[in-house]
């Protein structure tokens, strides 16, 4: 299923009428092999933000009153994250896309971390950065790249790659 821009969307069901994991609001991540870096929960949507600063307290004095000590240095804010899952028409396409995205060169220095994982026909992606502007820019660029990658595959791969195998009828 694709939107008007040709970007693969997230269908509600696969060909067998079963819900595809990773629907918005359902933290999930398909099992399968992963790209560079570690995998994590596949929550849809952005999360994270600056942690609250904490003020250290001295041990209580003779009068039992604990006085505030020197201000603690604010801990490093957690990076912003954006996760999404792209369904492909076949596991082969997903595998090719994962292989391409995992190996392609990253801009240096790395400001936005990318985590990739593929399972069956689903490619899950998580982008994380402390810089929201960079995160947005990278996401947009990533979508352009992914769209072009998919269009190229669809144009060049033989049709049989896109056939979804049907389960045998059982008795």
């Amino acid at each position: 299923m694709e939107d008007d821009d040709g970007i693969p969307g997230r269908g509600a069901e696969d060909g067998e009428g079963q819900a595809i994991p990773g629907d918005p609001g359902i933290p999930d991540r398909p099992g399968g092999h992963e790209g560079p870096g570690r995998g994590g929960s596949g929550e849809a949507g952005a999360e994270g933000g600056p942690a609250q600063g904490a003020q250290a307290l001295n041990a209580p004095g003779p009068d039992g009153i604990a006085l505030p000590g020197p201000m603690a240095i604010n801990p490093r804010p957690e990076p912003l994250q954006f996760s999404f899952i792209v369904p492909f028409r076949s596991p082969v396409e997903a595998e090719i896309a994962w292989e391409y995205l995992a190996q392609r060169p990253q801009p240096q220095p790395v400001v936005v971390e990318q985590e990739l994982a593929v399972s069956d026909n689903l490619l899950s992606i998580r982008l994380s950065s402390e810089d929201p502007a960079q995160l947005l820019t990278t996401f947009i660029t990533f979508l352009h790249e992914l769209t072009l990658l998919i269009q190229t595959m669809q144009r060049l791969l033989p049709p049989y790659f896109f056939l979804t195998p049907r389960p045998e009828k059982g008795g």
Binding site: I96, E99, Y100, R104
Partner: protein
């Protein structure tokens, strides 16, 4: 007998070419043209390239009468150029290489021009004047590098011409430089403009600032016509280029000059260079618009040379770079 497929898209032209053993089998191209008075922006240009690149690929294969199995290597423009357009083309090249399981080669755009110029003209070891919208360099080969003997210290000569075209709202179709050339042929008056040569280098930002500043006033007072300004600008900037090329030829003792790059299509520039070469007893080489202007076959040709010399670009190193100097590449395919 390797066959190389080349992708070019560093500026507003996107091309896909096929080259086999010195023969150009296909070379389709598209140009992103903007309205008069405007230039092309990276995002819009990239969008244009994304929309047409796969059609061009199909067109190239059909024109060459080849399939994926006939291709031995995929070459693409690694740089220099505009970031977003470069990336758009690189994505397709990488994907094609991966799907077809072919080696990938990142090519320097400037070297693509040089190698195509050498192939088409047969020049053996020329002093190269590389002039385009994005680059202006005087280059000569020495010890496995294309050495830059002189260059612009600010903007390229083609950029100067293109931006002047915007001032006069000259059409960008087919290119602003071409339209300036046609208008210059009707120019009668030579307007005195800043001439800036600094040793082996040139500068065009000053002359552009000057002519942008005085153009409207001079036209309004009837002091000159737009054709006069086009003529004057060409005469001045081209004379600067001829001077630094001649200086490099004298330094190298070169008897050949080769013009490459989109501005190299300009017949007046070729005429002025020919005069200089004749005075020196040297020979001038130039190509036509098929190969002067950015095209995919030039990338394929440079890729062909590199492929035969054993160069390969792993996928992990197949990025693009907006600043990629001509002399960064080790030219292992020449003695």
């Amino acid at each position: 007998m390797p066959t190389v497929l080349g992708f070019e898209g560093s500026a507003n032209k996107i091309g896909v070419g096929v080259v086999r053993d010195g023969a150009v089998l296909a070379n389709p191209r598209r140009t992103y043209v903007t309205p008069p008075g405007t230039g092309f922006l990276p995002g819009d240009t990239a969008r244009h390239h994304r929309a047409v690149v796969l059609d061009l690929l199909q067109e190239a294969l059909t024109e060459a009468g080849l399939t994926s199995q006939d291709i031995d290597c995929i070459a693409y423009t690694k740089g220099p150029g505009m970031g977003a357009p470069l990336v758009s083309v690189a994505v397709v090249a990488r994907t094609v290489a991966q799907l077809w399981n072919k080696p990938l080669l990142g090519v320097n755009h400037c070297i693509g021009h040089i190698e195509m110029g050498r192939l088409i003209t047969g020049a053996t070891s020329p002093t190269v004047l590389y002039v385009s919208g994005g680059n202006t360099q005087v280059i000569a080969y020495s010890e496995h590098r294309y050495r830059i003997f002189g260059e612009t210290i600010d903007i390229a000569v083609g950029n100067c011409l293109d931006r002047f075209a915007r001032v006069l709202k000259i059409s960008n179709d087919p290119s602003p430089g071409y339209n300036i050339e046609q208008m210059a042929k009707r120019g009668k008056k030579l307007v005195d403009l800043p001439y800036t040569v600094k040793g082996m280098d040139v500068s065009f930002s000053g002359i552009l600032s000057f002519i942008e500043d005085v153009a409207q006033r001079m036209l309004a007072t009837g002091e000159c016509t737009p054709e006069d300004l086009c003529f004057s600008l060409q005469e001045t900037v081209f004379a600067m280029l001829v001077e630094i090329t001649e200086r490099a030829m004298a330094h190298c003792g070169s008897q050949e000059a080769l013009i490459v790059g989109g501005v190299g299509c300009n017949m007046r520039l070729q005429e002025m260079m020919e005069t200089m070469c004749q005075e020196r007893g040297a020979r001038l080489f130039a190509t036509d618009e098929r190969f002067c202007i950015d095209n995919g076959a030039m990338i394929a040709q440079a890729g062909w040379e590199m492929f035969r010399a054993g160069h390969r670009t792993p996928l992990s190193e197949s990025g693009v770079t907006q600043r990629y100097r001509t002399d960064e590449v080790e030219v292992t395919w020449r003695d």
